[in-house]
Symmetry: C2
Subunit: 416 residues, 2 copies
């Protein structure tokens, strides 16, 4: 039985039919079913297995593309970190390949040739659920390299799970005069419903715009109609599976991108690009925790972090920025030990206002700092960035000041 | 200077003018400003203070109301736990009184007399941010008492911060044949924009419907037009300050309530009431933790809980229910020690599906159980309830089965 064969597997739970995929676990048979999903079957549960038809073998390696540079076009570098958007499926074998070059991209989405000169390479290959701060630094460094080597815009292909965290991290770490666009896909490119191609085309369209800053491009609605360009510090994955999972929070998208007409329609003002300078600052204090607050929570968790030498704690409080009074002593312990404690809200939408109720006023008296309308995830990344670069007293002053668009001082009526 | 006087306070930060309120903190002067907000001013920051006009003193206590029972009406018990909706403002002094009786309610919202016989009492008086599991038990007991004493429906006045957690807890703890409606307000009743009266009228309208189960009633949109009746296990506070902060998640509201025409229009099927039986089950295992997953998180936090004797952990994972592979060993440690570990998603909307990507499959192999489309907060409460009543092996079977509407097996297209 070879990878690529169509097989039929009988188990207690039912019969599975599909293309045999390469498996990284010897105890598991992985097959790609007709509906596009992969299913992993424990070998010990297999009652019977048969080959329905042998798969075709690829007869030769694809030759390299030889595409001339179009001098009228901007050069866009697509850096892949892994994830669904960067996967390339071999239709012969059904396997999803992690390999990722400009050629792969252009073969998958030839429309890219009509809008830009495309460079592309993989800088890592991870599922974004495994992302960590040291990878953010690596991505920042690769962005710098690409811009210095001539890229007019950067597209980062990224898994969607933690794409918003990475977008925030890059927003603080990279000061570039060109646009940096993160893009992902909710359905892999071997599925008829894949959003990978339209998202990628829209991301490249965004990357050639005369703007700067870090953004996320994803489907604007569930149909294949348009994409939104979201500010990297104002966006969040708000659905586990829909193609329009990403939403601007406490803000509206920056622009609407039509991948068919190639139009980019701005919905709010945006900083214009003015050259190709790039600086990065990859200092991050990794001893920062994000703690969700809830009824019955154990305040000792705060002491655990303090005693482990943590320097910052982001609370994801309730309502306008509250926490149960039975953890006040623990919060005080953190602050007495020099830990910077800041407050965000688990309502996601809306802003913290710790002046309205006594609970919030008490927390402020303890030294907890409200973070306005900043998302909890963004506050987490920002606190790592600030503590990596400034003394605590300075951090306390900067945490609730807008640095790169992460805080809007006035609430928008059209943002909920 | 007496409470109720209109005073003018000069500080470094500006001049504040308003009605002097009673203060619980001797270092702080609290005044109610014209815009309805209370402001607390540290006495040490006061540069000058003057009385603009003396407040009127109430000349007598209000006499008790003497309202005849209307035999055609149902009897609705309003139990107050505290929070904005239950606050009563003395217009003479500007102070917000925690006192709460049926008479208070009827004086504040006389329209209630036209729709039901109203009973009312305070069962506690706390800000909901200070809610904890033992209070949930107390509320369950008071509900039982009221139903046994003849209530046809129950309204619980509750602060909005943790109202959804309490609604979940009551959904699992109380099996009653009458409706139990939680209601709150986002603006206190002394502000012209208060939503307290309309929400309360709508809650009483819901409480007299021939249905059973636990629900939340709040504004349906920001204007004073209608309220929604949400399933208690499918609702979440999604904005820190808007009046339409509560949204049904992965579901739609159960009904639309028009407090002006008194119409209740059902949007989905609902269990009919069939008597007035009530049973409660207040066993909760409090050693359950809710942990949000994020890039760079410290897996040792899981060991901390395990070593403290925790019995259950709810992970608020990324995407379809993922966690970084660098905490897998810690998760394994928890499961090896008999802790029940379950997975939800921080996208809030959508469902967990741990069969799609290798990360999810690995987590399942470790023994982590996906919770379908159940909200993280609901999974937390449900795990406490299950561990309080069943052996771990049984808990693992029940956690992702629908018990009281908390899990919908099929996704709705109209729910995002």
């Amino acid at each position: 039985m070879d990878v690529g064969d169509i097989i039929r597997v009988e188990t207690d739970k039912g019969i599975f039919e599909g293309i045999l995929l390469p498996s990284t676990d010897e105890n598991i048979i992985t097959i790609k079913m007709k509906n596009g999903y992969n299913v992993g079957i424990l070998k010990e549960n297999v009652k019977n297995i048969e080959i329905i038809s042998k798969g075709e073998k690829p007869k030769y390696e694809l030759p390299p593309l030889n595409i001339e540079k179009n001098e009228k076009f901007k050069t866009i570098s697509i850096l892949s970190t892994g994830g669904t958007v960067a996967s390339k499926v071999d239709y012969k074998t059904g396997a999803v390949h992690p390999s990722f070059t400009a050629d792969d991209l252009i073969r998958a989405v030839p429309e890219l040739l009509d809008i830009a000169n495309i460079k592309g390479r993989a800088v890592m290959n991870i599922l974004s659920e495994n992302m960590k701060p040291e990878y953010w630094k690596k991505i920042a460094e690769e962005i710098k390299k690409e811009i210095e080597e001539g890229a007019d815009g950067i597209v980062i292909a990224h898994g969607t799970d933690t794409m918003a965290y990475t977008a925030s991290a890059l927003s603080f770490m990279v000061k570039a005069d060109v646009p940096i666009i993160l893009v992902g896909a909710q359905r892999s490119s071997d599925r008829p419903s894949s959003d990978a191609a339209l998202n990628l085309i829209s991301a490249v369209l965004a990357a050639r715009e005369p703007i700067k800053g870090v953004y996320v491009v994803m489907h604007g609605e569930s149909g294949d109609t348009f994409c939104y360009l979201h500010k990297g510090v104002k966006v969040r994955k708000c659905h586990s599976s829909r193609r329009d999972a990403f939403k601007s929070i406490n803000s509206i998208p920056v622009a609407k991108i039509n991948p068919f007409t190639k139009e980019v329609i701005y919905l709010q003002d945006v900083e214009k690009s003015n050259g190709r300078k790039v600086e990065i600052d990859t200092n991050l204090e990794e001893k920062v925790a994000l703690i969700k607050v809830y009824p019955g929570m154990d305040g000792e968790i705060i002491r655990f972090y303090v005693d482990k030498g943590y320097k910052g704690i982001v609370l994801e409080g309730t309502g306008l920025g509250h926490a149960p009074e039975y953890i006040f002593e623990d919060i005080k312990y953190a602050i007495d030990n020099g830990v910077v404690v800041v407050m965000t809200t688990q309502t996601i939408n809306g802003r913290v206002n710790m002046n309205v109720y006594s609970n919030g006023r008490e927390l402020q008296k303890l030294g907890v700092i409200g973070c306005g309308d900043m998302l909890p995830e963004v506050a987490y990344v920002k606190l790592m960035y600030l503590l990596g670069n400034y003394e605590p007293e300075e951090v306390k002053k900067l945490i609730n000041k807008n640095l790169v668009g992460e805080i809007e001082y006035r609430s928008r009526f059209d943002a909920y």
